[in-house]
Symmetry: C2
Subunit: 83 residues, 2 copies
């Protein structure tokens, strides 16, 4: 088996209103040292396949078609072997 | 500045309905090799402080009080220096 560890993040140029809301809440709670918060998705996906090239291609297709919004988000991932 | 890279994940024993829905969608789309999907939050938070011990303590308080649900989620993080 292979496990894909996928990060789907807003592009740096895109405002993150959820992160901004967390930063504001933290300031109200007294955490004044927090400058910025960016909230992203982290997805672990296991595949019944040990072929890295084939799984890489599948993960790219899955990110492009389902997990990431190409207008606002970018993604990167790594593959690890699993028992 | 220090940047905290925080993972907030459902505990292994907790069902992930959003991940299950993604797995089902992928099977319908023909990605039959996908066995399981777990969806988590990945949060990057920058601090105007270079003291690792102090920021570690702050991140733990922030996770406990705001970012993670202690009943269903666990978290871990690392700190990196930023320019």
């Amino acid at each position: 088996m292979l496990k894909a560890k996928i990060f789907v993040q807003l592009k740096a140029s895109v405002l993150d209103p959820q992160g901004k809301a967390v930063t504001n809440s933290l300031h109200h709670l007294g955490f004044d040292e927090v400058l910025e918060t960016r909230i992203s998705k982290y997805i672990e996906m296991t595949f019944a396949d040990n072929d890295r090239a084939r799984v890489t291609e599948q993960v790219e297709k899955i990110c492009d078609s389902l997990l990431a919004n190409p207008n606002t988000e970018s993604y990167h991932f790594q593959l690890d072997y699993q028992e």
